[in-house]
C-alpha cells in the first residue's frame, strides 16, 4: 500500500498520470481498476486526463463498463479489459470499444460477477483465492483457466477464484474530506457499495469527488483515510455519467454520440463533440 496515512491527500488532475508513471517506473505493468456501475459514478474527468496525457495503453478492470471504456477505446488508451459488461444500457452498445474488439487490438477477459467479486474479496482479504461454485460448467471458467481446490472437510471440488488486485483504482464520489474519508452516496442506488469492494482490493486508491468538505460535514463515510491514497476535487467529474443525489446521466449527449457514430463520424471526434467538457479536462 502506498501513502495512506492521515495527512492531506489532495492532488490535482495534473498529477493523475504520474500515479501510472510511478507504477511503471518500477518495471510494472499496472492493472488499473475503474469504479462506478455502468452509467453511474464513472471517474470520467480522470479518464479524460489520462487520454489527454497519452498514457501508454492500459490494462483495465471495470466490471460494469460503459462510457469509461468507450472513451479509453476511442483514444486507444486500453489494451486489455477484465469485465462482465460493456454497454450503454438502454442506449445500446459502445461502438469504439466494439470496433477495437472486432479488430483484435484489445484483449477481453470476460468474467462472471462471482468470478470478479470473488477475486476482489480474495484480494481484500489478503488471500490468493476464494473458493466458489460460480460459473460452473461455463466456457468463461475454461477461458479464465480457473483451477480447482478440494475442500479438506467435505471433499467437494470448488473453483479457486484467483485474487483480483488492481495496482491502482480510480473512483468518483460525491464528497470526501482532505484526509481521504469518502462519504457513501447520498442516494443509495443499484450497487452503491461496489466501489468500496473494489477499493479494498486495490493497492492504491484515487478518488475524485464533487466536493472536498470538512471532516465534520461527512455523513456516512464508506471508505476511510487509511484506505485512500489521493483525493481530487472535480465538480462534475463523473459527467456524462450519473452521481445519484447530485446529477443525472446526460442521456441526450450520450444519444447524440451514438447518433453521430451511426452517421459515420469517427468515435474520437464524436466524443469530443458530444462531451466538450471532457476534452477540456
Amino acid at each position: 500500500m502506498t501513502h495512506r496515512g492521515h495527512d492531506d491527500k489532495v492532488i490535482t488532475l495534473d498529477h493523475v498520470s504520474r500515479v501510472i508513471d510511478d507504477l511503471r517506473s518500477t518495471g510494472g505493468d499496472p492493472l488499473v481498476g475503474i469504479g462506478g456501475v455502468v452509467l453511474r459514478r464513472k471517474p470520467m474527468a480522470v479518464i479524460a486526463r489520462l487520454c489527454r496525457d497519452e498514457v501508454a495503453p492500459l490494462r483495465v478492470a471495470s466490471f460494469l463498463a460503459s462510457i469509461d471504456v468507450e472513451y479509453l477505446a476511442a483514444h486507444e488508451r486500453i489494451r486489455e479489459l477484465t469485465t462482465g459488461y460493456v454497454g450503454l444500457e438502454t442506449l445500446g452498445t459502445t461502438p469504439a470499444w466494439n470496433a477495437r474488439v472486432d479488430a483484435g487490438t484489445v484483449t477481453v477477459r470476460e468474467y462472471s460477477e462471482l468470478m470478479y467479486i470473488s477475486g476482489l474479496r480474495a484480494a481484500a482479504s489478503g488471500l490468493p483465492f476464494l473458493p466458489s461454485r460460480g460459473a460452473a460448467g461455463s466456457d468463461l471458467a475454461t477461458d479464465a483457466s480457473l483451477r480447482t481446490v478440494t475442500c479438506p472437510y467435505t471433499g467437494e471440488t470448488l473453483w479457486a477464484m484467483p485474487a483480483l488486485c488492481p495496482d491502482v483504482t480510480f473512483l468518483h464520489a460525491e464528497r470526501a474530506d482532505a484526509l481521504g474519508n469518502v462519504d457513501a452516496p447520498t442516494e443509495r442506488d443499484f450497487l452503491w457499495d461496489a466501489d468500496a469492494t473494489l477499493a479494498r482490493a486495490s493497492r492504491r486508491v484515487v478518488v475524485s469527488v464533487e466536493r472536498i468538505v470538512p471532516t465534520s460535514e461527512l455523513r456516512a463515510p464508506t471508505l476511510f483515510a487509511h484506505e485512500v491514497s489521493h483525493v481530487i476535487e472535480i465538480p462534475g467529474g463523473a459527467a456524462p455519467s450519473e452521481v445519484p443525489g447530485a446529477y443525472g446521466a446526460d442521456f441526450a449527449a450520450l444519444a447524440a454520440y451514438q447518433h453521430a457514430v451511426a452517421s459515420g463520424i469517427a468515435p474520437i471526434v464524436a466524443l469530443g463533440d458530444a462531451f466538450p467538457g471532457l476534452r477540456a479536462r
Partner: protein, 279 residues
C-alpha cells in the same frame, strides 16, 4: 383495456405484453425471483406475477428487496427509484451470497441464444468470417445458471437463431450439460428450464417439449434448431382482460417494450415526454 388497432402501441397486446404474462405464469408462490436492472420486461413480469398470481412471491429488483409501487418508467432513468421503493436493499456482496447459498429460486434472463439442453449464450457468436461478434456481456448469468434454482430465458422476436442445436459459447451451463460434461465443479442450479417468446414456450432438457404456441403447430416445430416433442402441446389462449389491465396499471408507459427494438424509440419518446426527473 382494448386491443383495437387505434390504441397506443403499448396498450395493444405487443410481444412484450404477451411475454410478461407467459413469464408470470412460470412463477411459483414461494419463489424468490430476481430480475436485473435494465430489463423492464422481466421486471414487469415479476410485478405482474406478484399482483395477479402469487402475492407471496418475493421479488428482488437488482439489489432492491421487494419494491412496492415501483415507477418502472422512472427506474429506467433514475437508479435510485427501485431502491427507494424497496423494503430494503442488499449490497452487491449480499446478493451474490444469497445466490451462492441457493436461496434465489428463479431468474428471468434474456440471452442471445439458448439450446435444447438449456445452455445459454450471452457473450459472443461466430461471424461469417469466422471471427467472434461480442455482445455486452454475460454479467451474472454464468453464476445464476449454476446456483439459482431455475432460470427462464426470454426473447422478443421468435427466431430459429435464438434456438440453435448448440450454443456457440456456453455463458451459462444447464444442469444437464454440467452432468454430461462431468464438470469439474458441481452446483445445484438447474440452469434454463424454459424458454419463452411471444409465440411459444418450450421446456428444455434432454427431451425438449413444446408447452404452448400460437399459429400452426407444424410450422412452429420448424422454428427451433432442435426437435421438440409436441405430444402435449396446446394453443395459447388470449391474455385475460384483467391481466392486461394489471399490466397497464403496473407499466402505464409501456417501458416493457424497451426490450423490443421495434418499439424502443417510441418508449423513449414517451418517457421523455413525461419529463421524468432524474434526481
Amino acid at each position: 383495456m382494448s386491443n383495437a388497432t387505434t390504441a397506443p402501441t403499448h396498450h395493444r397486446v405487443t410481444p412484450a405484453t404477451r411475454l410478461c404474462w407467459e413469464l408470470a405464469r412460470l412463477t411459483r408462490p414461494d419463489d424468490v425471483l430476481i430480475v436485473g436492472v435494465g430489463t423492464p420486461l422481466a421486471a414487469t413480469a415479476a410485478l405482474l406475477a406478484r399482483r395477479v398470481l402469487h402475492p407471496t412471491l418475493t421479488v428482488l429488483f437488482g439489489t432492491a428487496v421487494a419494491p412496492q409501487h415501483i415507477d418502472l418508467a422512472a427506474s429506467i432513468l433514475d437508479s435510485t427509484a427501485a431502491p427507494r421503493a424497496a423494503v430494503g436493499n442488499y449490497t452487491q456482496v449480499d446478493v451474490l451470497d444469497l445466490v451462492a447459498r441457493g436461496d434465489v429460486t428463479l431468474q428471468f434472463v434474456s440471452p442471445v441464444e439458448v439450446d435444447a439442453l438449456g445452455n445459454v449464450n450471452a457473450s459472443r457468436v461466430r461471424r461469417p468470417d469466422g471471427g467472434w461478434r461480442r455482445f455486452p456481456g454475460s454479467l451474472a448469468i454464468p453464476d445464476t445458471s449454476a446456483l439459482v434454482g431455475r432460470l427462464v430465458a426470454y426473447r422478443v422476436g421468435h427466431h430459429k437463431r435464438f434456438f440453435p442445436p448448440r450454443v456457440a459459447f456456453v455463458s451459462g451451463a444447464s444442469a444437464v450439460e454440467r452432468e454430461r460434461s462431468n464438470a469439474a465443479v458441481t452446483a445445484r442450479g438447474a440452469g434454463v428450464t424454459h424458454a419463452v417468446t411471444e409465440r411459444a414456450t418450450v421446456q428444455l432438457g434432454a427431451r425438449p417439449q413444446l408447452i404452448d404456441y400460437e399459429g400452426d403447430l407444424h410450422s412452429m416445430t420448424t422454428e427451433f434448431g432442435f426437435a421438440v416433442d409436441t405430444s402435449t402441446s396446446r394453443l395459447r389462449e388470449p391474455v385475460p382482460a384483467d391481466v392486461l389491465a394489471a399490466i397497464d396499471a403496473l407499466d402505464p408507459l409501456g417501458v416493457r417494450n424497451l426490450e423490443d427494438k421495434d418499439h424502443r424509440s417510441a418508449v423513449l419518446a414517451r418517457i421523455s415526454a413525461r419529463g421524468i426527473a432524474v434526481q
